[in-house]
């Protein structure tokens, strides 16, 4: 009797705990957590504010990159040319594009100290596997800038595959460039263009 009672009580608790451990952090919760943790890290560290490259890079690579689906971002930026690329080319493109994004974001990060974020309520159905998380960045004296994250559900949790700033999609903006380069110098030409750019000294 008491055993049954224990079972009754504990089985659901164990099941519940297990499901919690596997439960995915909701996409809006994830975005908010990452944004706030990143801002806190910037505010807490003078060296990040002045752009210490090693620290900035560490912050981005450890905290943010794992939550981006860089392969899909690259595929979207390539558009129809993605399928024309061999698997090795796709891998190389993804690597170069990721490097470019990290460099870009590193450059931007140091400007974020005075930013505050606001988060719009998420509208999604439980079954959705793709959602847009809407936020806005405010800086003193300026109108807020809408910043939307396109998120997809993966076995490893929600991941971001596009960022849209004031209606300008990162991925789409690159698609125009990539398209033209592939047209004129092929997929290898694009890989070379990207890697040359990534090797160029960081502008300040």
């Amino acid at each position: 009797m008491s055993r049954d009672f224990a079972k009754l009580l504990f089985v659901p608790i164990i099941a519940f705990a297990t499901s919690l451990a596997h439960a995915q952090e909701a996409p809006d919760v994830l975005v908010k957590r990452l944004a706030e943790e990143t801002l806190a890290a910037i505010r807490a560290d003078k060296e990040i504010q002045v752009g210490n490259p090693a620290k900035v890079k560490a912050l981005i690579e450890v905290k943010l990159v794992p939550h981006f689906d860089t392969t899909r971002m690259t595929a979207l930026a390539m558009g129809r040319n993605w399928r024309a690329a061999s698997p090795e080319q796709q891998k190389e493109l993804t690597e170069q594009f990721k490097t470019l994004l990290i460099r870009t974001y590193s450059n931007a990060l140091t400007n974020y100290r005075d930013n505050t974020m606001t988060y719009a309520p998420l509208r999604m159905n439980p079954a959705d596997t793709e959602v847009v998380v809407r936020t806005a960045v405010s800086r003193p004296g300026q109108a807020p800038i809408p910043l939307d994250y396109s998120m997809e559900k993966t076995p490893d949790g929600w991941k971001c595959y596009d960022v849209v700033v004031s209606g300008v999609s990162l991925v789409t903006n690159y698609r125009d460039e990539f398209n033209d380069i592939v047209k004129s110098s092929g997929v290898d030409g694009l890989i070379k263009t990207l890697s040359d750019k990534n090797k160029a000294p960081q502008v300040k």
């Binding site: 450059n107 959602v131 003193p140 300026q142 109108a143 595959y161 960022v163 700033v165 004129s184 502008v203």
Partner: protein, 269 residues
């Protein structure tokens, strides 16, 4: 002032570019929105040269010498004039709600904010908005017209540029009778805009492969987004993208059938 604010907003978060020209071979044909591309590109080069030699160093010097508190006051002062025009355009677009917020900001900041030097309204939660004659003309149905890059001014279109001329014509600074003062204010306003763009600019320099095109495309998309109040209709784009990650492995197999075409990233709603 909205122009630069817009520019910095576009750039701010991610996108960037650099004078780069590793793209020598890149044959870029004029597009529908940019029929004068060759001309615009030469204007862009003029701008880069002159700006890099004169305006940018002035803006950098301004940031280095003038304390942040004062710079913020200057930005707020000109931002207060922007708010006035945001309100006027809200009215012209029949949007009393946006107009009311903007005029409320102007009243508050002009009085208790000491002529706009302090942005009290934002502290009280009346959020700053952007609006301008270019957007009003667009909502009234005027076509955008060709894209233009104007040295010393930046990216615009015939419609947006016309909006700016209207604004300069009726702007309050133009009514100041003391000509040296008036010109100083124009100069300070310019430096203020230019310094606001500095941070964004270095990001664009890093991000862009072809800086001219990067700025053009970002400008046109951001304006479109603004025109439709953040809900633009989907662009005509036959370039449908492959591959949510589920499809990626298939795409990685040479000769695999093309992945079923998948929808574009959800457009902003």
């Amino acid at each position: 002032m909205n122009e630069s604010a817009l520019r910095s907003k576009m750039l701010c978060a991610l996108l960037p570019l650099l004078a780069v020209v590793s793209l020598a071979g890149c044959a870029v044909g004029p597009t529908k929105e940019d029929p004068y591309e060759p001309f615009n590109r030469s204007m862009f080069s003029v701008h880069e040269a002159v700006d890099g030699a004169v305006m940018k160093p002035i803006a950098q010097g301004y940031v280095a010498i003038v304390p942040e508190l004062i710079r913020t006051g200057v930005s707020n002062f000109f931002g207060n004039i922007d708010d006035l025009f945001t309100g006027i355009n809200g009215l012209l677009q029949g949007n009393g709600y946006r107009a009311g917020d903007a005029f409320g900001r102007v009243l508050l900041n002009s009085s208790f904010g000491l002529g706009g030097i302090f942005d009290l309204a934002s502290m009280m939660g009346i959020t700053k908005d952007r609006n301008d004659f270019g957007i009003t003309f667009g909502k009234w149905g005027f076509p955008q017209g060709p894209y233009l890059f104007i040295p010393g001014f930046g990216p615009t279109t015939v419609r947006d540029g016309t909006g700016w001329l209207v604004r300069l014509e009726i702007g309050p600074v133009g009514y100041i009778p003391d000509i040296p003062l008036r010109n100083s204010l124009y100069g300070l306003g310019y430096v203020d805009i230019r310094q606001q763009a500095l941070a964004t600019e270095s990001v664009v320099d890093t991000a862009a492969i072809d800086k001219y095109r990067f700025i053009r495309n970002a400008y046109l998309r951001a304006r479109r987004y603004q025109l439709y109040d953040g809900h633009p209709p989907p662009e005509d784009d036959d370039d449908s993208a492959p591959a949510p990650s589920a499809a990626a492995p298939a795409a990685a197999v040479p000769g695999a059938p093309p992945a079923a075409s998948t929808p574009e990233p959800t457009p902003p709603k």
